[in-house]
Symmetry: C2
């Protein structure tokens, strides 16, 4: 957001994008800093300067993910639309989603990621309050669990979907089973 690489042009951004697609393809565990550097055409130690270490890179991925999720949720006007937006975000940004909710992978106390996460969870919480009232937190937890579980099952490949399935309408139908 504020760093301006000089020599390469925009190495930080290039590395971030490459990391996200690599995670989406082979998982966060298989991510290799040296491989990213190779693809970007820089030396093996170049990433260190932009993201202290591997966890630092994943921290940036998580922060960007929370920010993008926040933007996606902002466009949803009612409860079901929020759920659909959540699942749709996971399927369209699998690389980000695979990192965001797994704090063991990154520096969970990093100010940037904490800020982005708090802003997004506050949006979710607000939406739940509007839908269910703020006296009981069980419905909110149930709703979050439902969309999060569906998103997780899909992007982890645990849920075998027919190729033609419309994920959005499936998510809407499932969300509407909540009362």
């Amino acid at each position: 957001m504020d760093e301006k690489p000089y020599h390469h042009g925009d190495l930080r951004r290039v590395l971030l994008d490459a990391a996200v697609t690599a995670i989406a393809e082979r998982g966060a565990a298989a991510l290799s800093l040296r491989d990213l550097a190779r693809r970007a055409g820089v030396s093996h130690a170049a990433p260190t300067h932009h993201f202290r270490d591997k966890a630092g890179l994943l921290t940036a991925v998580a922060a960007e993910g929370f920010s993008l999720l926040g933007k996606a949720l902002a466009e949803a006007d009612d409860f079901a639309a929020t759920g659909v937006a959540y699942v749709r975000f996971a399927t369209t940004h699998p690389g980000h989603f695979a990192v965001m909710f797994r704090p063991v992978l990154y520096h969970r106390d990093d100010p940037a990621v904490v800020a982005a996460r708090d802003r997004t969870t506050e949006m979710l919480r607000g939406g739940a309050r509007r839908a269910f009232g703020d006296d009981d937190r069980v419905p909110a937890l149930a709703a979050w669990s439902l969309v999060h579980g569906m998103a997780t099952l899909i992007i982890d490949g645990a849920l075998e979907l027919d190729p033609g399935t419309d994920v959005a309408s499936l998510a809407r139908a499932a969300a509407l089973r909540l009362r």
Copy 2:
């Protein structure tokens, strides 16, 4: 289940247990075969013979996990109890759960894991049929998503629970929000 190590006593079991606790503590990505071997007091190449490679070890973890989950689900008699058992299994076996539904981590076509997984998913499917009928698969998906999402959020540390919270009753309350 059928292998009987000779020299060490029961190396395969010891390695599996150590792997499960290590995954529960630091995540599957940080797992090190050499570290496991060190803790078991054997050479760094000893695990290779029992589990071809790292993915092979995780395959065994996943297979055992599905088998244990099946046993846990078998003791649940109604729909809500099944959901509670699912979440409880995740919290009591975080090391297994962190691997089972992430097939990129292991050999997803391994016969043992396929058999164990199919047996367990068939139990889930049967429970859903009894609760909702077999004409619509949306409620079953919603139910699985809900409990899976809740379990995932808890064991990944994304959900901050008050220390005293009873996970079982929370899971039951959330599951009962489904109609």
